[in-house]
Symmetry: C2
Subunit: 410 residues, 2 copies
């Protein structure tokens, strides 16, 4: 490889990630809900760092940061997010922001290269207040009324109040400038164990799966748990449990090889130990990158609801809360990541879909976008024990910087 | 029947029940949590009514009322409770108190009869703060430390604070006076549909079932709902659902004819739509009046836990939270109720166990006790639609008053 090829400074990357980890530290991870004090301090930290990369930026009216460059030539947007899930990991988000910062530091100061890397930190990728509110605001998909309605899912605080507390009330929101960027690149921890179990260093993301979310509701008859005979009960909780077990039995035959489905929440009404539940509700989601697979599974779900209603004694209903179109990643950018992986990671890479949602799927609606993954130890994420080996973090940074260079070079 | 036999005044009984229904009315039922303002007003209402029956009483230091008579001769204690479950029925509790008041009004003023009926209203039978706290205090089973520790299960308010708000802080608690009463009689709505479906008017309670309560806990592995493949999941929620369905399949072969079992509450941890539950918990209870049946079912439950642990992938654990010894009702009192039913309800009565817990099971630990049931429309209870036909209420009152007369007559 030529001596003058710009590469990442691994120590600097690790030092920056650890500086962000110290803001809102929780055990070995962090607790940085969107617009909480540690999240705001992390945003302020990034704004102060941007000039090191020849960028200027501020926090906008929805908590996004966009660091812009005055350099001429093509501009590549890169970034991720700085808030965390509650009591969660230190790399989910910050890794992609610091890789972007490092790419900007390395590339934007190199007189031998054309163009620049610009850095973004999207607010609320983790969905404390909504659903990709920051990146959706940037692509023009969030109204003022959406922000009025947004509330923190844990504390119940309104987003307006949180923005006011952060000193951001009344600030303009930055929207994408048509034609400014040739595309968007984002790095993230894998959040699964595919890379680790195969001994690989880089995942080249081919698509980001769509998420279809449902509420399944059962109505029975609330009654006294001591005086109501078993034969005359209409136990909504039992009907729900049977439905969960039926999904487990019947979905595999219809699902694709990478489909996943999850019942994340169950609520019984009234939920008292001596009362037969008259109501029961489950939140259910399906993820796949093939809408045809989702359509088959949704058909099966509707058939199962009909069967449950026909057999009784409770009534079941299916409500679709959210649909997600899978986002295809830009093939030339995938090739750039793979080439960078050959140069800096001995080619230890694999093409894979992302089972998790990411801001890249929102950016992909207005510009070419791509993602790379680094390994997650034990596949653990959304938990404070989430981690990635330092060596893998450094390798990923080198691949990311080189991929940015290749994309800018066309 | 002889003309001079004392009988209940049905209109007075219905008027009193409706007066109590108007205090804390909710739709056609009431909302009177223990020591709430409507409950306190109901207690004050009763204290003012007691002199009509030749009784004097006050509210004691735990919210119990005991109306005592100065008449000589045998004394029969009768009563029930005045608080309700949240947003529940108008008769669950007040029916038994007003029947007792009516029996005292009729009998205590009759110079041809010996002895008296004394009236009790036990605080917190519905368990907002504990577990039969009022009647257990009367029989000497509640310490000051128990009261210190008691908190409202809905609001979290301490019982000490609630007692202070009610002006009861520092008042003495009334305890049973050994030898004062020949026994205890309580009337209640059936809370099931056995009487209604058989066209009967009176249930002669043979025993009050014991309640065994369990916490069943499942530990899996919390992980990301998008990135964790189905094959490598340890979903605690699914493990719990399978266990509920297995109980439904296997309990009937081992249970007795009247055994009931209920999963009243299910909680997934963390309970978020995009996270595979790492923990799941269910509150499970079994009721029967035969401890041998309970022992068999508990054995089955432990076998099923062992099987779940052997098959994996989650770990299950069983914790017994509460055991309940069934209370046998006093046979001579049962005969008195049946004789009264022959005289005033054309013999439309049946012997039956009580699937619900009642203060009578606490009183039965220190004196002979018995209960009678009146029909519940549709078997509904612990819900504001709970109801009993006026004609059944009046018939029940006549049987109750006559049963008291027969018991006092020996």
């Amino acid at each position: 490889m030529p001596d003058n090829r710009p590469i990442a400074n691994g120590e600097r990357v690790l030092a920056d990630l650890n500086a962000l980890r110290a803001i809102g530290a929780y055990k070995t991870g962090v607790h940085k809900p969107t617009l909480s004090e540690p999240h705001r301090n992390s945003l302020a930290w990034l704004v102060e760092k941007l000039p090191e990369a020849g960028l200027t930026g501020t926090i906008d009216g929805i908590g996004n940061i966009l660091g812009t460059s005055a350099r001429t030539g093509p501009k590549l947007l890169a970034g991720s997010h700085l808030e965390s899930q509650n009591y969660a990991g230190w790399l989910d988000g910050p890794l992609g922001v610091i890789y972007a910062l490092e790419a900007a530091r390395v590339i934007n100061s190199d007189a031998s290269l054309r163009g620049a890397v610009e850095v973004a930190a999207w607010c609320d990728e983790e969905g404390h207040f909504g659903h990709f509110l920051g990146s959706r605001s940037y692509v023009g998909g969030v109204s003022e009324a959406d922000i009025d309605a947004a509330r923190d899912r844990t504390s119940g605080q309104s987003m307006r109040e949180a923005l006011r507390d952060a000193g951001l009330a009344g600030r303009a929101r930055i929207e994408a400038e048509p034609g400014r960027h040739i595309g968007y690149l984002e790095a993230h921890i894998e959040q699964g164990d595919a890379l680790e179990t195969s001994g690989l260093a880089i995942g080249v993301v081919t698509s980001i799966v769509g998420i279809w979310q449902y509420r399944i509701n059962f109505v029975g008859e609330q009654n006294h748990a001591g005086t109501t005979r078993m034969a005359s009960r209409k136990d909504a909780g039992l009907a729900l449990a049977k439905f969960c077990v039926a999904i487990d039995a019947r979905f595999p035959a219809v699902a694709g090889p990478r489909t996943v489905w999850t019942t994340g929440r169950i609520t019984l009404d009234p939920g008292a130990p001596s009362i037969i539940p008259g109501g029961a509700e489950m939140l259910f989601q399906i993820r796949d990158d093939d809408p045809a697979v989702i359509a088959r599974l949704e058909d099966l779900l509707r058939t199962m609801i009909d069967e449950a209603n026909a057999s009784g004694p409770c009534q079941a209903a299916l409500e679709r809360l959210r649909t997600g179109v899978p986002a295809k990643m830009h093939p030339p950018f995938q090739e750039a990541i793979e080439a960078a992986s050959k140069a800096f990671a001995s080619g230890r890479s694999v093409h894979m879909p992302s089972g998790a949602g990411h801001d890249a799927q929102v950016l992909a609606t207005i510009m070419p976008a791509a993602m790379l993954f680094v390994p997650s130890i034990g596949g653990i994420s959304h938990h404070w024990t989430e981690n990635t080996a330092d060596a893998d973090i450094v390798t990923g940074a080198q691949v990311f910087v080189d991929a940015c260079r290749r994309i800018l070079a066309g």
